[in-house]
Amino acid sequence: MSFPWAQQYKPTTEFGQWMDDRLPVGRLIYNSLGAGYPTPRNLNYMWNFGSLAGLFLVIQIVTGIILAMHYAANANIAFDSVEHIMRDVNSGWMIRYAHANGASFFFIAIYLHIGRGLYYGSYKAPREMIWLLGVVIYLLAMATAFMGYVLPWGQMSFWGAKVITGLFEAIPLVGKPIQELLLGGFAPDNAALNRFFSLHYLLPFVIAGVIIMHIWALHIPGSNNPTGVSVKGKQDTVPFHPFYTAKDGWFVGLALIFFTAMLFFMPNALGHADNYIPANPLSTPAHIVPEWYFWPWYAILRAFTFDFFFVPAKLLGVLAMFSAILVWFFLPWLDRSPVRSGDYRPRFKKFFWFGLVPCIVILGICGGAPAEEPYVMLSQLASAYYFAHFLIVLPLLSRIEKPAPLPNSITEAVIGKPLQQAS
């Protein structure tokens, strides 16, 4: 956490000194967000999405705590209590829409943050723990978002709960008892709704705890940067404050413009109209899809339409969907190339931009589309490439690729070589 070139905290007031000897909060802030944390001087805008995701987590927690003041987790009145929030509670419509759209913005930030890590090799040594904790955060966020979506107890809520818990039914032998255990019944009802509410309230605080570890682990080696070259000394860094506090602050302002535009002008654009129909256990909506941030995984789930030897299609799809994310846990050891940044890996770059990115976009589109041709075929092709990318392309590239020459230092990459050498 402390670099030899970091600026040292010196309390400026007598009270600051008194506190520093007893509870050094000021020192902690100075060393983690202040001038005491030296940060690579060449970070581009892709490095803004971590703090942005943090902001949206805060928005979710604040609006969520407020919604819980008015929401009733009871299958008989949950739907009505949400309508009560929308119609009767002062500014309730705004707080609920902020919570619903805030989830989407949290995932936008987190996906770009993950994409940044994938391209610039932020998962590689010595940052493996940061990456692994990040995957844990992502898994927790997905569980939280799913359970939150069940709470309004509309048609999509109900059938989402039924389908997702149905995934566990695919587990051989114990699948059915596990599904009944999760639901506390044979179909989603009061028991399921109450436990989902309880866990939906709990998990964001667990996420916040893992984020603290994520940042702690980050501050040991310090941030990666677009060159992937390690910081060699003070000249490669700028103090976090004021440079990145100001940059993060301005970017937060920009992101909030988009967020409020969604919130005030198209608050239901990312939702499903069917969820304004109260849950009906006797009728499934014609076209049932999860929220957009689950689409790629949903497409992988549905891509497996065939039995494979003795493994039924249903189990295959479930295994594939979970494996698609679990493979990230092995990524630091699948990609053995010593070069971090995709900027200096000509072949990796091509596979990233023309392989992985379009593959995930196609999976996303297919996941949101009905389960019919050509989407089934496309999902199958894209799923195949997705796994091939992580399990074949990356390990192979690390062996055969010839990386481009790396700059000697971050500063050289930014300002150019020293003049005396150039002349």
Binding site: N90, S91, I95, K234, Q235, P242, I415
Partner: protein, 193 residues
């Protein structure tokens, strides 16, 4: 000019900017940016706090109509308005007389019975059934309940006594039982709130 060996110092990157009267342009930018963010925070916090105020469905309960035709002289009923008890009491002639005999200058909260009822309807005493001390429901409206030393209401929590006009006479209650806003829609229907 920056070169490879120049470290970037912390603090204000524009320290070399010339000052005009001790003020730099960057000071203005700093103050303007932080003030703008401050206004944004206040504008955001307001609805987040205001949501705790009574919601529209709670405010919709703000007026009720009560049929009082069944209340005989000397009887009282309890009803509910804004989730709070309301006492509607049909005073007898002796009770009105007792209330009017009191010298109000000696009262803790000086009001006459006429102040607390409507002209021509002095027998209808309509008050909140909420003790002005700490909010318990006083006894005395239902038949058989203790009416206190002044034959009005008696609060069992901390021993406040109210007279036949609902005025505080003894005990810790600081003011008379509150008279809500109400009007007679007809001789038998009263609208409270």
């Amino acid at each position: 000019m920056a070169s490879i060996d120049t470290a970037v110092e912390s603090g204000d990157p524009a320290v070399s900017e010339p000052e005009i009267g001790g003020v730099r342009r960057r000071d203005f930018i700093n103050i303007a940016a932080v003030s703008f963010a401050g206004v944004g925070v206040v504008a955001t916090v307001f609805p987040l706090v205001n949501q705790m105020n009574p919601s529209a469905d709670v405010l919709a309960l703000s007026s009720i109509e009560v049929d009082i035709s069944g209340i005989e002289s000397g009887q009282a009923i309890k009803t509910s308005w804004r989730k709070q008890p309301i006492f509607i009491r049909n005073l007898t002639a002796p009770e009105i007389e007792a209330a009017n005999k009191v010298d109000i200058s000696g009262l803790r909260d000086p009001e006459t019975l006429a102040d607390r009822t409507q002209p021509g309807k002095e027998n209808w005493l309509i008050t909140l059934g909420v003790c002005t001390h700490l909010g318990c429901v006083p006894l005395g409206a239902a038949q058989g309940e203790v009416k206190g030393e002044y034959d009005g209401y008696f609060c069992p929590c901390h021993g406040s006594h109210y007279d036949t006009a609902g005025r505080t006479r003894k005990g810790p209650a600081p003011t008379n039982l509150e008279v809500p806003e109400y009007s007679f829609l007809s001789d038998t229907v009263v609208k409270i709130g």
